[in-house]
Each structure stands twice: as structure tokens, then as C-alpha cells.
Amino acid sequence: MDKKLERILPRVQKPARYVGGEYNAVMKDKARVDTRVAFCFPDTYEIGMSNLGMRILYGVMNNMDGVWCERCFHPWGDMEAELRGASMPLYALESGDPIGEFDIIAFSVGYEMAFPALLNMLDLAGVPLRAEDRPGLAPLVIAGGTAMYNCEPIADFIDLALLGEGEEQLPELIGLFRQARREGWDKHRFLVAACRIGGVYVPSLYDVTYHDDGTVRAITPRDGAPARVRKRVVTDMDKAYYPAKTIVPSTEIVQDRITLELFRGCIRGCRFCQAGYVYRPVRSRSRELCAQYARESVEDSGYQEMTLSSLSTSDYRPLVELCDELEPFCERKHLNLSLPSLRADNFSMALMERLQKGRKTGLTFAPEAGTQRLRDAINKNLTEEDLLESCRRAFAGGYSAVKLYFMLGLPTETDEDVAGIADVAAHVMHVWRESAANKNRGVRITVSTSWFVPKPHTAFQWEPQIPIEEYERRVALLRERINTKTVTYNWHPSPTSFMEAVLSRGDRRLCAVLETAWRKGARLDAWEDYFSLPRWLEAFEECGLDPHFYANRRRGHEELLPWSHIDVGVSDAFLMREHDRCYEGVTTPDCRTVCSGCGANSFLGRPCDG
């Protein structure tokens, strides 16, 4: 063990996060690899290790001969101070080598608030922040993940972004990198060649100009870069790599269990949901393979908990058959199956009752909005009857806590919709009185509201976020309306959501703001421990930009959006139609009922899911 590190570790919280050596961490002989990748997650170990995408790509890259992919996470504040104090550069967990010496530094960015952490990790690694200050081919700084569907706010810092699913494009990119190094290409030549790989976006090959009012005038490609960059997807989930043999951390992480991915995409089409649009088309893994991967992962990892994962697990067609098949195995292995993101309907409740063993704690539902009118407007296909029926079954079955998630500030929301949230909670309370198996235990109903953040590539990408004063007014209104003691109301005074709204639909000019905010101390800003709104506002002030321009402005359908050149497969016409239908109060049926022609099936050349 490194002597400096040995001295630091006893002084920091949870040192096991910083040492590697976990079961199944991949070790390779440095002398026998030619390409070293530092796979960086701009958040803590506990968050990063819970990310399935990272586990998949770690496996994909380490399956390549001559490539060694290692992990690196953002240290918590105490560890950062120690590293800086000891002049120790950020290192990879497997070898302990400084990542600044690696060939490729690859970030997985799932969330806009992780942008400052990305900058800070580069700085901790001793790597110049700006791409233009890194003239050499290595280290090549690349980034993927959902937040890269609009990566303009970090466009100046990364060399390229990978859009979509990385299983195929990442090996292609690494192959090109090896060729470039072998043949002595300069960085520009490499980037020009890289932008021809499907799903690779090289921001420096696009000139962005602005109108006087601050909106984008034109996004012009150079050196043969494509006018639109189309994301990559894996077309056949049965051929997609699944990390059945994966790292088992020696310290507790957020999702400390096996994540079995059933399918990608979502048939539901909720208009606010970025994942619902950008993960299209729907592609399922066969039941046989899911069952096989489940067995392999359990045997290899020793985990006794597995989550059947997807954006909407009850929509996996052979879900019952899969559970039937896994049940005896689970029994034998004392394995708990959990089903996240279940819909509040009879089918899901029946399944859950069957799988739930032992302790019955709380159930969580996300009606998102308080009235049927608003749920229709956002295309959340959930009726209050379904919700109440699900709660009735839960209470009758012995559950005594229900959590209900809502958003405030959804487009078209009125005070009546806000008050409707309190009514839903009251109705749930009433259902408990009627159906509770054991009233002596009491009931806990928790209502949580968050502040809606409009995201790019959704039907609401043109919408303003409601201002903080209005958000707080609606919170106060709801608080007044909730007057039973059994209903707890949680809301966050979270200015983070405001900055998230700014960054998620930001343009390239925000690079300067981001760098300024980072210089003022922004880093793990997804954590309230570190986020400071005044720091961000100062940074905007110094850069002469107005955050409200990004967060609170209504855009017209004709406006050229900063991410207009990024193609996630869903057509602009479809998003505009969905946007209009919100105001008309018209729902769009789910993709299984009828194909609404979003365009995403063009990736497959056949109907998606069906």
C-alpha cells in the first residue's frame, strides 16, 4: 500500500471506499496492456458502484485484450482535502496509479449536477480542465451517460461525448484510439475520424452562434462532422453483455444487490420523463436469458437480494413466468426479489404480495399529480381508483406505510391540482380506515413533492420551470390543505432543482459559469452538503449570464435549442405533438396499445416491443 495513502486513510470516513481490492475487481499486468482507461464516476463510490451502466461497460472494456479499465470516484470532502494536502493526485482503485497518466479518462454522467464534480476530478488528477489545453492525444477525456444528451455546458472540457448505449461504440472508439496512437495521428485528426463513429459527438467540431436575445442562431458542423449526431443503441438485448460476474463492494453501497436488467425503454410515454424518451425504443431481454443471468449472478456474487430492473418493471411481458421460474431458486438460496418502479395496479400488487417475504414495511407510489386532469395532461396513465385499490390491497395485506410522490410546477398546474394532492392523501387515509388489517399499528402516509425540472428531449423541453416564489407558494398551499396528523408532508426547499433546470437546458456559454462556480468551490453539488446557490449566482453574475434565461423562459417550437443537433431517435414533430396534447388534455396511449410513431423504431427496422 502506498505510504502516503496509509497515513491518510485512518483520518477519513469510510476508508474502504478508497482502496479497491473488492471481489471481482479486475487486475491486469501493466506490462501486457497497451490502453489504460480510467472509468470515472463524478460522484461518490456508493453512488457510482450502484450504477449498472458502469458495471456493464467495465466488463465490456476489460473483456478487450490489451485494455485495462479501472474505476475512479469523486472523493468525499475529507478525502479530497487529504489528497490535496498530501499533493496526491487522484488515482484509480485497481492499480492505485494516478489517472492523469492514463490513455483515456471516461466519465459516466447521469445527472447535470455532477458537472462540477467532473471538473473537480480532472483537477484532482492534475489534468487541464479545458480540452484546448490538452494538445496531446492522451489523456483523452470522454463522457457518456444520460446527461450527455445535452452536454453543451461541459462542451469545452470534454474531447468527445458518447451518446446512447456504450456497449458497441466504446470498443469501436478504443479501437480507433489505438490506431491513432499506432500511426501517430494528432488529436485533431483523431477527433475528426472519431466523429464518424455512430453516436460520437465532438463538440469542438461545431460552431455555435447566438442571436442578440441569447437564443441559439446556428449550430454549424466543421471538418465533415455530421449535422445531427444520432445516439447508439443495442438492437438485440439477447446479445448485449450482462455483467453476471461483477464487483461486490466490501462496504455498503446505495444499491447493494444484484440488478437484473429486464428491458430498456418504456412503453408509457409520460411527457415529463426524460428517461422515457431517451431510452427508446423498447427492447426486452428474453425470459430464458434473464433467468440464466439471475442464477449466474447469485451463484457468483453471493448476494441474497436481487432487483428486477427497468423503467417500468410490470410492463415486462413475461414477468409472471420469470418470477415463476425464479421462485424455487430464490427459495433455495434465501434470495429476496424486489420489484422497483411498479405500477399501482392489480397485476403488480398481486405479484408483489407473492414475492414479499417477511417484513412488510412501506410501499411507494408516484401519482406525480393530484388530479386526473393534470395526470392526463402529463400522460401519467394512472387513475385514482387504481391507486386507491392498490393501497386497499396493501393495507389489507398488513402494510402500514405508504409514500406518495408528486411534482409541483408541472405544465398547466393550477391551485386546484395542488389541492388535489391533499385530497389524494385524504382518500388513501380513508381507504386505510376501511381496509386496514390491524388498525392498532396506525398508518403513516407520506406525501413528498419535488420541484419539476423540464428536461431536454422531452415534450416539456420548451416549458419554463416555475419560479421559486411560485413553487414555495404552492408548497404553502398544499401544506395548508394537509391537515391530518397521519399525513406527513415532505418537501425540499431545494435550490438544487433550480440549478438543475438551468444546467439541463444550458448552452455552451455555461462552460464559463461552470468553471467559475468550480473555482469558487462547487464540486459534489448533487449533495446538499456541498451545494450553494449564492456561489452559482455569483458565477452567473461574473460571466454576465442570467440563470432565469435558462430555467424560467418559455421557448417557442421554432426556437433552435442548444441540443437540436442531438438525435435521440424521437422526432421533434412527435415531441411537439405531445406538448400540444398536454395543453389539450389529451392522453397518448402506451406503445403496446398502439404505436404513436415517435420514430424510435427506426433503430430496429421493425416494430419495437410490439
Binding site: A16, Y18, E22, Y23, E299, Q304
Partner: protein
């Protein structure tokens, strides 16, 4: 379905795995090796697994003991080999046998304490440390379970200490009380710093070497 006892090494990266995390880790290691841990009866079954004398985070050890019960009817033969294929770096199973003696008979542990002096060992360090730890009273501040500071006399808990000097390092082979109450050998460094400020080390390292019963026989 006898009670079994595993002797294992915990060092390098694994020194930083906390007690609770180590328990969690072992709960996964056993099924990896094809062994099924027995669970307690009752409404919230938990696996029957316990560590005889938990090691402070950051210290290493050649002699950790883990008691457990499995569903299979085995006497421990081959268990160490089975487990070694599924352990994280820094953990290594040495041997496994039936747990015959109750854990309370563990009385002493021997450890190597290393005090680092980056600027070179101050002259006469070993001699002065030898003198300090042969006193009848050596008081050290220690956090109690209730997070309060308490002063304890470590002298009665320290059975022997042999001090030697090396380059930029003073090492001690110490034998201390293991439990009820036990002495964390790292406190010797705190005592040195408190009584002999010029001998405050730049860093202190502890490695457990062996476990003994009250008669001085190796405890297994």
C-alpha cells in the same frame, strides 16, 4: 451442523473494511464457496456468524477468528480452500476447525506495533519507551462507547512489550489483554505522545500476530 471457527488474515486493503462491512462481506463469501450459512430462528432470521474479537479499522491481523454455523454437516476440512476463491484482496482464510473453546477463554493477544519517525528515530527512543511502559500507571485518554472521553490506566492491560529500533522506525512486540477489558495496542502510540512528546510518532501501525488463552497457550 457443528459450530465452526475460521482463522483468517486481514491485511492491506482489507484492513479498511469495518466490522459491520466485514460481516456483510462474509455473508456473501460463504454462498460463493457453496456453503450455506445457518440462520437464526424467529421472525427476523439473521445468519449465525460472529467475529470473535473485532479488529479496529486500519489495523492488520494474521489471526482473526470468525465463528459460524452452516447447514451442511462438515467439520471444517477444506473450508479455507473453498472460501479463498471468493475473498476480496487482503482477506485470506488460513484454516477452519470446530469451535470447541468458548470465545471468552481468549485472554491475550500479541501484536506488532510500529512507530514511524520520518526524520529518524530520536536517540534512546526504545530505551525510554521501555521505561515508560514498565511503570505501574500509564494514563491514556480514550473514547468510551458513549463517545465520552475517559482516562484509563493501560499499564495493567499490558503484559509485555519488547522494543527494538530500526531505520526511521521503533517496533514493539507487545502482549496485551484481549477483552474485558482489552487494550487496543494503538493506544501505546497515544501514550508515548502524551508522556514523551518528543517521541510522538509520525504514524503508528498495528498488526495482530497471535491469540492466547489465560495460560499463554495459542487460542483457537
Amino acid at each position: 451442523m457443528a459450530k465452526l471457527r475460521l482463522l483468517f488474515v486481514k491485511e492491506a486493503q482489507a484492513s479498511y473494511i469495518s466490522h459491520l462491512d466485514l460481516m456483510r462481506t462474509f455473508q456473501r463469501v460463504f454462498p460463493r464457496g457453496g456453503l450455506e450459512l445457518k440462520h437464526s430462528q424467529g421472525f427476523h432470521p439473521h445468519p449465525l456468524i460472529s467475529i470473535v474479537l473485532p479488529l479496529p479499522v486500519g489495523q492488520s491481523s494474521e489471526c482473526e477468528l470468525l465463528d459460524f454455523e452452516v447447514e451442511q454437516d462438515i467439520d471444517g476440512t477444506g473450508v479455507a480452500e473453498m472460501l479463498n476463491t471468493g475473498l476480496p484482496a487482503g482477506l485470506h482464510a488460513r484454516e477452519c476447525c470446530r469451535a470447541v473453546r468458548p470465545a471468552r477463554e481468549l485472554a491475550f493477544l500479541r501484536a506488532r506495533v510500529e512507530l514511524d519517525y520520518d526524520a529518524g528515530v530520536p536517540s534512546g527512543a526504545a530505551e525510554r519507551l521501555r521505561e515508560l511502559f514498565s511503570r505501574g500507571e500509564v494514563l491514556v485518554e480514550k473514547r468510551t462507547k458513549h463517545k465520552e472521553l475517559a482516562e484509563i490506566n493501560i499499564a495493567p492491560l499490558l503484559r509485555s512489550a519488547e522494543w527494538t529500533e530500526a531505520e526511521r522506525l521503533v517496533a514493539a512486540d507487545v502482549t496485551v489483554a484481549a477483552q474485558n477489558p482489552g487494550l487496543n495496542p494503538a493506544l501505546l502510540a497515544n501514550a508515548a505522545a502524551a508522556y514523551l512528546p518528543e517521541l510522538a510518532p509520525d504514524f503508528a501501525r498495528v498488526r495482530r500476530l497471535e491469540l492466547y488463552d489465560a495460560e499463554g497457550n495459542v487460542f483457537r
